[in-house]
Amino acid sequence: MHSALVRLQNVFGFFTTVAFSVAAVIALSSFISPQTPNASIQLRNVQVVKGRPHYYSYKKEEYANIRFDLDADFTTLFNWNTKQVFLYLKAVYPSSSASEPASEAIIWDAILASRTAPWHTNHYIHPDPKSGKKKVLPKKSKKAQAASKTKPTPDDDLLFPRGELHLNNQRPKYQITDITGKLQNKNNVTLEIGWNIQPWVGALTWTNWQKLGAWEALKGGRSEAFEFPEIGAKKKVDKKELETEKGGEGYRLEVGGEQPIRKPSKV
């Protein structure tokens, strides 16, 4: 510590140790923050159609479009160390051979931002259960809009408390297909919710189906079993019923979605 350079190095060296230790304690503090998640999922409508689920599908295959209700309270997943929660709803159904584990396919997902996360276009905006539309915020000047884009969304701008969801007859974000190309008449299908908690510092944690210390097990979280109906069981399929929900991640090239512009063919 005799010269300024040596003191500089010593202070910086100990600073890194302190920074790491504080980060470690913050990471551990997540585990003493109680979690009491609950979710109830109900199937609204399921349809199986044969067609091209994506514009890049090279052959026709069977795909399912599942609508659901979701009432969930994940407010306790947000503690001071939570950056965002990635929520996903998956359809779980037995594989064609009994020796293989069940197939899982995600039909809907959302990124729930915490109070401290800066604004991002991919963050989930809860639709208004009355109008079914996304909440229209009061008009702001362009300057105010640009400024608010770097800041986290304030609690007052939310329809429900952070982490609370009340979705009614929600369209899926993704239509699902099976690797065999066949989905109809499959039995024992359930919808299951899952999540990742992404902290500011520390470990990524998954859905807790079991109680772990202060973290209660998820209550509910699974729908009752249903089956994928046979194609053509319902005479006419309304195209509107097969629509998918677009997230904030930009348009996706799917059935009913944006189509690529093709040059008119010369015939």
Binding site: H2, A4, L5, V11, F15, A19, S21, I26
Partner: protein, 105 residues
């Protein structure tokens, strides 16, 4: 003249402090940074805002750099003096200088 100026610049950059000052600087580093870390955690935890933790921690670190790195006068309060000049062969004979238990000088 330029030599003298250069000497001053070198002294300022090197920023040497005395032995007691070094002990004090070492102790202050540990105490200040340790306290900054502990305060940063609790401030963030109580306000439930992790960014506050970051800012308190960084502010504490900046303060520590400011206190420790420059050769403040309070680090030079116990300068180690030179031995008296040895102008005659017998001048130092009344001093006891031990080097590793051996008497020298």
């Amino acid at each position: 003249m330029s030599d003298q100026l250069l000497e001053q610049v070198r002294d300022a950059v090197e920023g040497q402090i005395d032995f007691e000052g070094q002990r004090l600087a070492e102790m202050l580093t540990t105490v200040l940074l340790g306290a900054a870390g502990i305060i940063a955690f609790f401030v963030g935890y109580v306000t439930q805002d992790i960014r506050l933790s970051l800012y308190v921690g960084l502010a504490g670190t900046a303060l520590t750099f400011l206190v420790i790195v420059p050769p403040w006068p309070f680090y030079n309060k116990n300068p180690e003096g030179w031995l008296p000049a040895r102008n005659a062969t017998t001048a130092t004979s009344h001093l006891n200088i031990d080097v590793d238990g051996k008497k020298v000088g």
